[in-house]
Amino acid sequence: MYPSRFRYEAPRSLDEAIGMLHNGGDYAKVLAGGQSLVPLMKLRFASPELVVDINNVPGLDYHRADPDGTLHVGALCRHVDLEHSELLKTYQPTMAAAAPLIADPIVRNRGTLVGSLCHADPQGDWASVVMALGGSIVAQGPGGRRAIPIAGFVTGPFQNVLEPDEIAVEAVIPAAKGMRAGGYLKLERRVGDFATVGVAVAVETAGESVTRAGIALTGVGGSTIDASAAADALVGRPLTAESIGRAADLAAEAARPRTDHRGSAEYKRHMVRTFVTRILGRIEPAQERAA
């Protein structure tokens, strides 16, 4: 399968790339890892007139933390870099849990977190992880940079709020105020399949008490679901069997699954409840983690 014909540019700087998008006509696409865009182009679901390949733009393959703990993930940071990241293993348990579950190992060598967020597939794993962590996308255009919270970034399946001449240059995960814990669990029929159900949980604790919580769901609705009521039920109290059970029930209520070849709606809803319980149940009390 071939994509339809397009013009191809491989700029060497962000300014050059943005200029190309600005002057690029009606339909231009940015190519980073290409693990979603190239298949879509081959299937002719996407037929851009111009492809701006940013792989030769230096300095975008980073992921790093500010002194306060704010995490920045550049547009060319591949899934595999995150999978092997000591930084994530130490400070970002939800992201560290998700990275090895993205697609398959060969796709992870090319695909990027930022590209995955821009692609805005309702089945995408990173979107719920970044949503649970309260992250945002930084877009750069001719007029400068702006930060867009992930909840407002995606407007529908495969749609985001980027202007035609804007590039998503990085994702930002805010610093934790408390002790960070959480995880990501994904039910898939086989490696590389889309999630039947994916659940991202990110909590922060101070002493006994949960100070911040985010729960987001993959694959159980027309878009990534922010299970905020479930998360709110955790805040301001210690993690107990009762609070965990309450959050798991609320997350299952927030899910909007449909019966399909991956499973029945009831089954998927049940798995949301199970995954929330499982992730939260594994979190040890803060004192033990510190010790």
């Binding site: 014909r5 182009m41 390949d53 398959d104 796709v107």
Partner: protein, 176 residues
């Protein structure tokens, strides 16, 4: 190398954006003129005549088309040929020398790691990347590294054994 493209009359120069790229494949330096929409897998198979790289699903699932670009395995059906400008490609043809099989190829022979053989080149290229990084993998490591490559014949058992065989052979070679 032959480049064939649609005749669009006088507008051809404008409308068909041919780009010249330079790259190396299995250590050999090459120049190619490609349309940006040419896939890497097609450049390798049709442009370069290296048919060891197989096209299986053509949808980024099966991994039969796996090659290494700058040492990292990628699915060549999901990368544009223009993107390898300035890069190094290794295909399954780059494994053996004229007189000697690569230990991975020997391993697949010794442990019956193939039946129809369609997935084998991709399996080997993914396995080579694993062994380059981790010379002493566990069975679990091998299964993990090959989880992006599908085989419809073997049930993977002998493929995993083949890679472990090759790992042991490579270790004994480097120790000797």
């Amino acid at each position: 190398m032959t480049v064939v493209y649609e005749d669009l009359g006088d507008e051809a120069g404008e409308a068909v954006p041919i780009r010249r790229i330079r790259f190396s494949i299995n250590g050999k330096k090459m120049v190619a003129e490609v349309e940006p929409r040419l896939l890497l897998s097609h450049l390798i198979r049709r442009g370069l005549g290296l048919t060891g790289t197989h096209m299986g699903c053509d949808t980024t699932n099966c991994g039969a088309c796996t090659v290494q670009v700058d040492g990292r395995p990628v699915k060549s059906c999901t990368m544009l040929a223009v993107q390898v400008d300035g890069r190094e490609i290794t295909t399954v043809e780059g494994l053996a020398t004229a007189s000697e099989l690569h230990p991975l190829q020997e391993g697949f022979k010794e442990e019956h790691g193939l039946q129809c053989g369609f997935c084998t080149p991709g399996m080997m290229m993914a396995a080579k990347a694993l062994l380059d990084e981790n010379p002493d993998p566990t069975e679990e490591d091998v299964r993990w590294a090959l989880s992006g490559n599908l085989c419809r014949c073997t049930g993977y058992q002998n493929i995993v054994k083949s890679v472990l065989w090759a790992a042991a052979k490579l270790r004994s070679e480097s120790a000797g």
